[in-house]
């Protein structure tokens, strides 16, 4: 499942999406809002997303994972809107028959999400705010 939601993320159901009898390993990644960036105290983050396209691109990441690791299963949730420090912005769960593939596939998925899924975050500090620039998309 590939989903973008405004609601708080619960990793439990994401793990269950990928659990099956052939999976000997499940790797789960949580991206969490940190309280500082480059020495500045972060109050909260605001995520903006091109929602319909973001869900499509998340599914593409899933297809890429399955093309490389055919025995893997993957489920992804990304949150948008306002997130407080300590809240979960991203959950990626990947299962595979063995842990090596599960770790690698999960890492690959996170990297690709950050390259192609159109989501942006604004950091709000005590004394200002700024939209962060990450990866330029290779068109």
């Amino acid at each position: 499942m590939f989903d973008l939601t405004e609601d708080p993320l619960d990793p439990g159901p994401v793990v269950e999406d990928v659990r099956h009898p052939g999976s000997g390993a499940i790797v789960i990644f949580l991206g969490v809002v940190r309280d500082e960036d480059h020495g500045r105290k972060v109050r909260y983050l605001e995520y903006d997303a091109y929602r319909s396209m973001a869900e499509k691109e998340m599914r593409k990441v899933g297809e890429e994972v399955l093309a490389r690791w055919p025995a893997a299963r993957i489920s992804v949730r990304h949150r948008f809107g306002r997130l407080e420090v300590g809240e979960t912005a991203l959950v990626v769960a990947v299962s595979a028959p063995h842990r090596g593939d599960a770790f690698e596939a999960c890492r690959y998925a996170i990297d690709r999400i950050k390259e192609i899924v159109p989501i942006w975050k604004k950091q709000v500090w005590e004394d200002g705010e700024a939209w962060l620039e990450g990866h330029p998309v290779q068109g």
Partner: protein, 84 residues
């Protein structure tokens, strides 16, 4: 012809809204739209080179030919997930 241009993140603040309509000549490419945006919205100009363009939710190269009524999204460098 007219295309609908969708804006996100900081671009929305720069242009003053999430959506604009741009008039283009028939057969205009993404590059043509980029040039037109630079003329109509000088504040966008320094950012245009760093943007990707998505037409009807698919990333397209600058030589892609637009059609009337296309929805074009300006995609600034992505910063999803948590750490950049």
């Amino acid at each position: 012809m007219k295309v609908k241009v969708r804006l996100f993140a900081g671009l929305k603040d720069l242009v003053g809204g999430p959506e604009i309509t741009v008039d283009l000549e028939e057969g205009a490419t993404v590059r043509g739209l980029e040039d037109q945006l630079g003329r109509e919205y000088p504040r966008l100009k320094p950012l245009l080179a760093s943007l990707a363009f998505a037409v009807d939710e698919e990333y397209k190269a600058r030589d892609y030919t637009l059609r009337d009524d296309d929805e074009v999204a300006l995609v600034p460098p992505i910063s999803g997930g948590c750490d950049v």
